[in-house]
Amino acid sequence: MLTQPDQRTRYVSVGNEVAVFEAAWRQKLPVLLKGPTGCGKTRLVEFVADRFGIGLFTVSCHEDMTASDLLGRYILTGGDTVWVDGPLTRAVREGGICYLDEIVEARQDATVAIHSLTDHRRELNLERLGGQRLRAADGFQLVVSYNPGYQSVLKDLKASTRQRMVAIELDFPAPDVELRILRQEAEISDDVAQALIRLGAAIRRVKDAGLREVASTRTLITAAALIRGGLPFRDAAIAAIAGPLTDDLELRDGLVTMIDAHAPPISGPDLSGRGGQGRSTKNH
């Protein structure tokens, strides 16, 4: 779960989020990242951890996660029991960032453990370890992410947890920023990148047609990478965007039609995969 700091973690700042994040880290304040899936929350955390040269402990939260999964537990070795730190405890001891991804997915009894860490005490209570109290090391920071509007009404973040956090709200980047990101991540031509970005913007406008999610920056990058890897625009976009977004055949047809319309103008080699006039109307 420990992510090795990658010296080349790239992140294109959209607003003041990097500045807010760094100020919060210096002031030892926990951070709440809000934003849709695939808009760069995880990448931002990696970037900051990398920048400060501290460890990053990522936990993907889920329904069955218990407090022990965060704090640690006794395990059996031979005939004996040995305590093993969980990711949160390790981050507290070692002074790294503990990143709880999609925290609302976790049950509330699992997340109350973080309360004493998020205020001035910065302490962790290990009840199962004889009530031991750990003071957080200097570089420690708690970061949680949360995707508003994604969960059912019963799963929302408790107000008492929310209030302890510095909130950073992310959204999909503006077209020019997204263009820079695409070009940086996948080194594709301007035309192709433009076409992908317009396609993404168009799909974001039809979210209420029944898509689970919209085309995120991440899916656009994936499509760009596939194009860079030699696939035609149409195939890459279907594989990276249309396929993951829906299982509904009608919607899929609609998305494929959108992809066809947004294929970049043909110049030189046929990048669109639509050979001349006789485009196949068959759908898969």
Partner: protein
């Protein structure tokens, strides 16, 4: 061909910013009425470009009713207006138009571009200003048709979010929908842009204006008096005035707009109905308080709606429970051998069922039956069902409903999902009385939305207690039954199971049979029969909903 064009609907929607149907039409040129795009025949790249331009006009607000009213019968000005608007649209919508379309439109966007539809109109009226040359594939604007669907809000938008000067609601003269060119040049002089008493008089004189007695677009406010049932509002003193989204009376919070299915056109009428929730008035002291205890029913319902839950430290199970195991080892080390609960198992003990009980409180349920009103029997059924589910710990809501025209579909709260079924809720149940009409499609759409927003469970059920007969002026017979059946299909496709229970009062109407044909329903001879029927009925509906559950978000996704 229509099926082939249907797949363009999503592409059009992305640019238009609202659901659009794409159909063949427009013999000479493509056009749109704001809800559908009628495409002329053309080779594919131009067909696509034509579609994008027409969708772009909708998305950029070019069909502004105020402007459309001033374009009627002025063919030259209209085509110049279109040219300026296409140029403006190419600029405003650049972020979502396909690159190839932007390239095709490039020759038009060199010059100055107007900043709003009204500026385009002004420019179009200045003969010396050169308009961009418009290619034939861009299509045309038909002001008389475009004014119709105008800028009606998209599906499910809360009425309160309408723009303050929602142009669709401006009173516009309704003209005959005939060919623009046939209009007399003389009348045109009086048509626009200024309205004054003199021009209105001339218009009326020559039959250009609204004919007396007709309703705007055939869709205006519906009369609520003189129908069957009691006159609504007679005793509903605490109810607010009719919900209407006009500049003078902004929409109320909680109001939502819904489309209605028009089978004759094979398309939705977007934003056609408005629905909102209210609290019923206090009940009369002598009103009957139904006793809601039905133990057999509760026993039957107890077996429904379970989901897996994790149970730890069990004496037996599928996998080892590590903390339990560790404790065991620790205890053994301390010399104790008694407790061996070291397994974990999943059992179906968690409850996961959200139910919305809808009680038909419309005029027709006031009919007499077996010594009382049908309504009282229906209320008893609804009360028992609500009470039983509430006691079992399920998420349950209960509402009465009726309508006073398409702009006033009303839900009366008995119990919201977060309320308990307590004394106050029972009083509200007692306060319901039959009145008004039954615009069932909008009722079902609003109920589906309520369940989705508030139930918070993955198993969802809509129970309608009532005769299920859709009826209102302008909402009758096949039109009503098709819309109702469509609304039920939408609900099931969105994972909300639907059932109907009603008292058996003789032969069912053909309209009812058609509307409810695809949804499980039962006719009870006595409210006590519910216990016997509830479980198979609910299981069937939930199975259908789970099976078809897929992300078909809004009603119009499929058009």
């Amino acid at each position: 061909v229509t099926g082939e064009l249907a797949r363009f609907a999503l592409l059009a929607r992305a640019v238009a910013g609202r659901p659009m149907a794409v159909v063949q039409g427009g013999d000479e040129a493509s056009y749109t009425d704001g809800a559908s795009i009628f495409l002329m025949d053309a080779p594919l790249p131009l067909l696509e470009a034509s579609l994008m331009v027409q969708a772009g006009l909708v998305g950029a607000g070019s069909l502004d009713p105020w402007v459309m009213a001033r374009l009627r019968g002025r063919r030259d000005v209209t085509s110049r207006y279109l040219a300026f608007e296409v140029a403006r649209c190419a600029e405003v919508m650049a972020g979502v138009l396909p690159l190839r379309v932007t390239e095709l439109l490039a020759p038009m966007t060199g010059g100055p571009v107007p900043s709003s539809p009204r500026e385009s109109l002004a420019w179009a009226g200045q003969p010396r200003r050169a308009a961009p040359a418009l290619p034939a594939w861009a299509g045309t604007i038909r002001p008389a048709k475009a004014g119709r669907a105008g800028a009606a809000p998209a599906t499910g938008v809360p009425a309160g979010q309408d723009p303050p000067d929602s142009p669709a609601r401006e009173a516009l003269p309704e003209h005959d929908d005939t060919d623009d060119t046939e209009r007399s040049r003389i009348l045109e002089l009086f048509a626009s842009p200024l309205r004054n008493p003199f021009s209105s008089m001339i218009q009326k004189l020559f039959g250009l204006g609204r004919a007396p007695g007709t309703r705007g677009g055939g869709s205006g406010e519906l009369s609520i008096a003189g129908g069957r049932g009691e006159r609504p509002g007679g005793d509903a003193t605490v109810l607010p005035s009719p919900i209407r989204s006009t500049p003078a009376a902004p929409g109320r919070p909680g109001g939502h707009r819904y489309p209605e299915w028009d089978y004759r056109r094979g398309a939705y009428r977007p934003g056609w109905c408005a629905a909102a929730e209210f609290d019923p008035p206090a009940p009369a002291p002598e009103a009957a308080r139904p006793s809601a205890v039905d133990r057999p029913l509760r026993r039957q319902l107890a077996g429904l709606g379970f989901t897996d839950a994790r149970h730890r430290r069990q004496p037996e199970g599928d996998v080892l429970d590590v903390p339990g195991l560790v404790d065991l080892v620790a205890r053994r080390a301390a010399g104790s051998y008694d407790d061996v609960r070291v397994y974990e198992t999943r059992r179906r003990t968690g409850r996961d069922l959200g139910v919305l009980v809808l009680l038909d409180s419309t005029g027709s349920s006031g009919d007499a039956h077996a010594g009382g009103r049908v309504f009282d029997a229906h209320r008893l059924v609804a009360a028992r069902l609500t009470a039983a589910l509430d006691e079992l710990g399920d998420r349950v809501g209960a509402f009465g409903f009726f309508s006073d025209g398409r702009e006033a579909v009303r839900f009366l709260r008995v119990k919201d999902f977060d309320d308990r079924y307590d004394h106050a809720a029972r009083e509200r149940m007692a306060a319901l009385a039959p009145r008004g009409f039954t615009r069932l499609g909008a009722v079902i759409r609003h109920a589906t939305g309520l369940i989705e927003r508030r139930a918070g469970t993955s198993r969802r059920l809509l129970v309608l207690v009532g005769d299920g007969l859709p009826y209102e002026e302008g909402y009758e017979q096949r039109y009503a039954s098709e819309d109702t059946a469509r609304a039920l299909d939408e609900a099931v496709a969105r994972g909300v199971g639907c059932i109907r229970v009603t008292m058996d009062v003789g032969v069912e109407d053909e309209v009812v049979r058609h509307a409810w044909a695809r949804v499980p329903h039962r006719r009870l001879s006595d409210p006590g029969d519910l216990a016997r029927h509830a479980r198979p009925l609910i299981s069937e509906a939930l199975r259908a909903a789970q099976a078809s559950r897929r992300p078909v978000g809004s009603a119009s996704a499929a058009c």
